[in-house]
């Protein structure tokens, strides 16, 4: 600030000085010329000074704003890193920074509380769900239970199972988001795909699905091998579930740049972005939870991968790269 005040005072001083010199020495006592010069020269100098000062100030202000933008850009609600604003020579910016810092703090706290709540809720639901399931299991063994009661029990059981599946998927999602799978190794996707296909062999056979493999090189990524398995298992399961009835197949392409899994099926009824959102599902398959693709996306995000969905020529295709 002090430096800036100097900018104001300096041109005025110079102007007065120059004027005094003019009046005193350089010109004859021609009063109106002197008077004009006295008025114009300082005015010009002052105008130039102001222009210069304003230009400087705008530049400084612009830099300050850019700095704030940069700081805000670094802000990630999920990261505990503290957002630090640089001290500014303008009190107004310091004020703004203070408000922003407070706001960020509040947003972060709310977000954390929210997240904590979801997580706690899912964990707290585990035991009651297990207790309900256990009681149903015991009730099922009772010889006094009639057919009507059995139907009700079947409904209770079915819905409890659904709840419990949703819950464990949510817990898995929160674990992925909280990076609870820190151990990474070099994962060879060909091996993972083969393993999962072996696991689902019977299912694939029962559904009469043909497997087409097209391996052109290795796709290797440094990531958690557990997550890689969950990722591929989810994609293969989707491909089994949403496969077309006649002429069903799953095509797996692996190249050094990407892995893609495609299968024929009906076109999706919603936009591509929505497919990856939680609880959005696009199927008549009742048991579908609508969490599979959220898990896929979560895993990809944590492992530095990119996932894309495409529907072309009657085929669903998911690509990871």
């Amino acid at each position: 600030m002090k430096r800036l005040k100097l900018f104001y005072i300096l041109p005025i001083l110079i102007a007065v000085l120059v004027t005094a010199i003019f009046i005193g020495n350089a010109f004859p006592p021609d009063w109106y010329l002197t008077a004009t010069l006295c008025a114009v020269i300082p005015a010009m100098i002052i105008a130039l000074g102001f222009h210069f000062i304003t230009f400087q100030r705008i530049k400084i202000i612009r830099n300050q704003l850019l700095q704030i933008f940069e700081t805000l850009e670094e802000f990630d609600v999920d990261e505990p890193k503290k957002v630090k604003f640089e001290e500014s020579p303008f009190p107004i910016f310091n004020e703004l920074n203070k408000y922003l810092a407070e706001l960020i703090d509040r947003v972060r706290k709310n977000y954390q509380a929210n997240k904590q709540f979801t997580q706690n809720a899912s964990h707290e639901l585990q035991t009651p769900l297990a207790v309900i399931k256990g009681h149903v299991e015991i009730l099922l063994q009772s010889p006094q239970i009639g057919e009507k009661e059995m139907e009700s029990l079947a409904a209770v059981l079915q819905n409890t199972n659904r709840l419990s599946k949703i819950n464990s998927s949510l817990i898995l999602l929160s674990k992925i988001e909280h990076q609870r799978f820190p151990d990474t190794t070099k994962v060879d996707f060909e091996k993972v795909v083969e393993e999962i296909l072996k696991n689902f062999k019977d299912l694939i056979q029962i559904h009469g699905i043909e497997i087409r493999k097209n391996y052109q090189g290795k796709f290797e990524i440094e990531m958690s091998d557990t997550l890689a398995e969950i990722l591929i298992a989810n994609l293969i399961q989707n491909a089994i579930r949403h496969n077309s009835e006649k002429q069903s197949f799953i095509e797996v392409n692996i190249s050094p740049t990407n892995v893609s899994i495609s299968n024929p099926g009906n076109p999706p009824k919603m936009s591509v972005e929505k497919l990856f959102k939680r609880f959005k599902r696009d199927s008549e398959v009742e048991e579908s939870l609508g969490l599979g693709l959220s898990i896929v996306k979560g895993i990809c995000k944590q492992s530095g991968l990119e996932v894309n969905y495409e529907y072309r020529d009657g085929e669903h295709q998911l690509t990871i790269k």
């Binding site: 207790v131 299991e137 579930r241 579908s288």
Partner: protein, 225 residues
């Protein structure tokens, strides 16, 4: 057979006791670390079911203690911790099996039976129902003296149901038994249905037709008298 169940969640403990007592085990229970510690020190058990998160201490210490004390006892850990590392450390310390919560009671029952069979000589290596014989050491099933050609999955389903004989076993518990957690219902139910159908056919061809009952909408039951 004497079992010790250490679990701090009273509701779950009661359920396990009810289910297992019906199998004819003598069951004792503990709900804290200290109580479990005392019982392990003072009595002998054939098998212990131990929760890892206990008030007063880590269940792993109890596993350790029991293993040093009585090498013959079977130990099944039940825990909400489900990472591979937890599993490995539990088994390394001497547990025979590790079951992640929440689990089905029929699964716990089957696991305890498997552990007891491996650990003690009192459990026969064979299960016999009429003219159906399941040899668990050789994983061989004989019906009316004919060896049945069963797939791995068919064998697993049959053994799982037989271990929970005369009880209704739910479809989802069978699915979990065969696949673990990551399988989803829609696909796996079809699969179980198809395999039970094949199993029934193979059993019926050898005069063992009426063991597997369908409980509509719920699951299956191995009927044996």
């Amino acid at each position: 057979m004497k079992l010790l169940i250490i679990e701090d969640e009273q509701d779950l403990l009661d359920l396990m006791l009810r289910y297992l007592k019906r199998e004819g085990y003598v069951c004792e229970s503990a709900i804290t670390f200290n109580e479990g510690f005392k019982k392990i020190n003072n009595f002998e058990y054939d098998c212990a079911v131990i929760d890892l998160n206990l008030p007063g201490g880590d269940g792993l210490k109890l596993v350790n203690l029991l293993r040093e004390d009585n090498t013959q006892a079977g130990i099944v850990i039940i825990s909400a911790r489900d990472t591979v590392d937890d599993r490995i450390s539990g088994l390394e310390i001497g547990a025979d099996d590790y079951l992640t919560k929440p689990f089905n009671l029929s699964e716990l029952n089957a696991r305890i039976k498997a552990v007891l069979r491996r650990k003690t000589n009192q459990f026969s290596k064979e299960l016999k129902f009429g003219n159906l014989l399941i040899n668990m050491d050789e994983r061989k099933v004989t019906a009316s003296d004919n060896v049945l050609q069963l797939t791995k999955k068919e064998y697993s389903i049959l053994l799982y149901l037989a271990r929970n004989k005369n009880r209704v076993v739910t479809k989802d518990s069978i699915a979990e038994h065969l696949w673990g957690d990551y399988m989803d219902d829609a696909v796996s139910y079809d699969f179980i249905y198809a395999h039970v159908k094949n199993l029934r056919k193979k059993l019926a061809e050898n005069d063992c037709g009426d063991f597997l009952k369908t409980v509509y909408g719920i699951g299956y039951k191995f009927q044996a008298n």
